[in-house]
Subunit: 87 residues, 2 copies
Amino acid sequence: MNIVFKALNDPTRREILEMLQERDMTAGEIAEQFTISFPSISHHLDILKQAKLVIAEKEGQFVYYSLNTTVVDDIMKWFLQFKSKKK
Amino acid sequence: MNIVFKALNDPTRREILEMLQERDMTAGEIAEQFTISFPSISHHLDILKQAKLVIAEKEGQFVYYSLNTTVVDDIMKWFLQFKSKKK
DNA sequence: TATATATTTAGACAAATGTCTAAATAATAT
DNA sequence: ATATTATTTAGACATTTGTCTAAATATATA
């Protein structure tokens, strides 16, 4: 859980997640959308991967990234505890 | 939104939120539950307050902290975008 | 007024984070 | 085989973060 919140605590990484919600993309396609360097984006992707928020699949020389929504479900469950209490 | 994810990115602060989900507590009561110093807890409470995740109300010499669930709702909405897409 | 209690503020410091450039790895094309 | 393209790894560096102790502020009590 810690690692997931850590991964979400960066605007670039959250934007990557939003992009991947639209369609799967290669590392290069993702990096093109930002002004920061390719290695920095690669590092962000690694953090998202560690948190299992994204899945990476190699196809030839490209690496396709896609969203892993099951972890999003887990986070949602954590937040739901704050809704259950009757006021 | 940035400030909220930042506030959530710490296990102590998340634990404070879970404690406040049970009942309102004073800064001192909260601090007692942890091994870290009072000033550190005070700092954590300040970050939660900045994110509007908690509300602080002074009563005499005590400061009561309570959960602000409306911000939790906003976060949930952000996560919901990842559920809407049909696969 | 002086003292005790509750909490925050200030300043220091080590560890973690986000960024960069340069180099390495891997696959494809000439 | 060599060059090109896609991506990651390594190392450096400035900024941010979480923690601490000491001091300050605010309220209540003797």
